[in-house]
Symmetry: C2
Subunit: 326 residues, 2 copies
Amino acid sequence: MPGSTRTPTLADVAAAAGVSLSTASLAFSGNKPVSASTRERVLAAAGSLGYTGPNPLARNLRQGRSGVVGIAVGPLSTAFRDPAALPMLDAVSEVLEAAGMGLLLMGDSVEHARLPLDAVIYQICGQETWAAYDDLVARDVPLVVVEGPAWPGATFIDIDHRAGAAAVAHHLHDLGHRRVATLTLQESHPQREREAGLREVFPDAVTIGRCVSDLAATQEMVSAFLDGEPDVTAVVCQSDVQAAGVVLEARRRGIDVPGGLSVAGFDGIDTPWLDLDLTTVVQPFAEKGRATARAALARTNDEPADDVVLPVELRLGASTGPTVSR
Amino acid sequence: MPGSTRTPTLADVAAAAGVSLSTASLAFSGNKPVSASTRERVLAAAGSLGYTGPNPLARNLRQGRSGVVGIAVGPLSTAFRDPAALPMLDAVSEVLEAAGMGLLLMGDSVEHARLPLDAVIYQICGQETWAAYDDLVARDVPLVVVEGPAWPGATFIDIDHRAGAAAVAHHLHDLGHRRVATLTLQESHPQREREAGLREVFPDAVTIGRCVSDLAATQEMVSAFLDGEPDVTAVVCQSDVQAAGVVLEARRRGIDVPGGLSVAGFDGIDTPWLDLDLTTVVQPFAEKGRATARAALARTNDEPADDVVLPVELRLGASTGPTVSR
DNA sequence: TTGTACGCGTTATCAT
DNA sequence: ATGATAACGCGTACAA
């Protein structure tokens, strides 16, 4: 069929099938009943014209929605290097996909904020500001914020950081520890809450430092400390990656874990490359992701979405033990 | 201003500013010159009406593009657990963001294929088929395929798997190795090419098995083999994660690396948790990502995009050494 | 430099 | 069950 240059539209299909535009539309959407025979005629016409279905762009304009949810995660290699982010994101994308919605990775640019997004998820652990925020608020784009920070109008999905941290602390206290040190994350809602939970039990915990959740960075940070503070019998970390770093660095310096030092983490990630099960606080990653996606979907449909705080669970591993003087 | 219920449109702004619709449009897009005074009047009117800029949905329909590129990666936790995927994706998103385009994570569902995407990147190492493919082709969505499989009409971005694998093989041969074993990935273009490169030098290499790029899975797979084949002096892997798994498992069984066994990887990822630099083939992740994004952008603009094959580089580490009988 | 008028391709309302 | 018609909100020839 040479010369058929323009890609066919629904109007072309309707004409070819000898039905009205609206009937052809219904034959595709199924939003109202259409007799089997006409539907067949429409689909046949579509097939012979090479019509591949309603143009998503036009549908989007008409319906006032794009079918896309943005997720603000910052630089990918930072966001996804964190093993705690993956299972959560997996659950988010699964729920959204089941609802026919796409997930768009957003950088912190106004360009991205101006894409047609039905809702935006903020999952920027540790980053407290976001340049595109004002734009989104001005455009009334529904916001779902995972683990803070507190922004008016947003739906919050969180876990009980404080209770988890307190549970770890109590566990160590029960084991006889009295002098503990802690390694904190960059200033953020989770960091503040986890620290508060720790200090419910150990108000005087020594702060080793603030450190991103990275193995090498952690090792460097704790290196000097491990030699200098023989009184400390336990180190409480704010992530499992940090805890693994402390374990590796302690061993490198001849300190046994947990014989000479107890180490606790947070998150409950897999660490197959560590031959030791960490004592840690397990978060419900999948449920956190599902709750996040559900909230985004609800707000996309102008339904209300309640804030959520999910419980966590202390998991005892082999990285903590009774106090032993060094 | 109570009662102003409808969100303002460009027409409202134009009316309020006392200019025509097209002038108001130009004041925002800057596609044609507008006198400074009128532009100011338009922007002022926009401000007082709470107009937040042209509706992206309408703009998309008008311009026939969505500003979104899809990337097919399969389940996120699988795709992103692979450390080789991150730096590449990072580069992709950086280039796209600089061009004002968004990156959408696609699952293999027709729903996702029907989202308005300007182009789709396939980065599904090891998965040879993709349900949504036919839909995309039918709708003439430009396709960019990273590391195969071969699909007509798609732009290909690849690295020189075969040369890299051959370089590793030659290195081992130079060290005196004659009897080597190999651990392969799931059937795929990279797997076939890397294997071919190895067999240019070692046609009779023993295949230990086929295994995803996962530490635990690798350790399980090589466990039995390491005891059973004392003739083998080197193991060539198709990823660094596999290589790390072999190193760890060998040590666990009392075999020194490289004293008792040489191990080579592929990719050139960071392995801070391994106290040994792997001999490996370094791929240019960032450049691969940039080339991929550039191809997607070009094809979005109906420009041609040539296929790309990037060179790789052998990096000698401490995991390979001269032959020693076990 | 500014205004007029049309079309992008669809879905929703209303009537038949 | 089907058809006519009106938006959806914008960009851009073309004319002035």
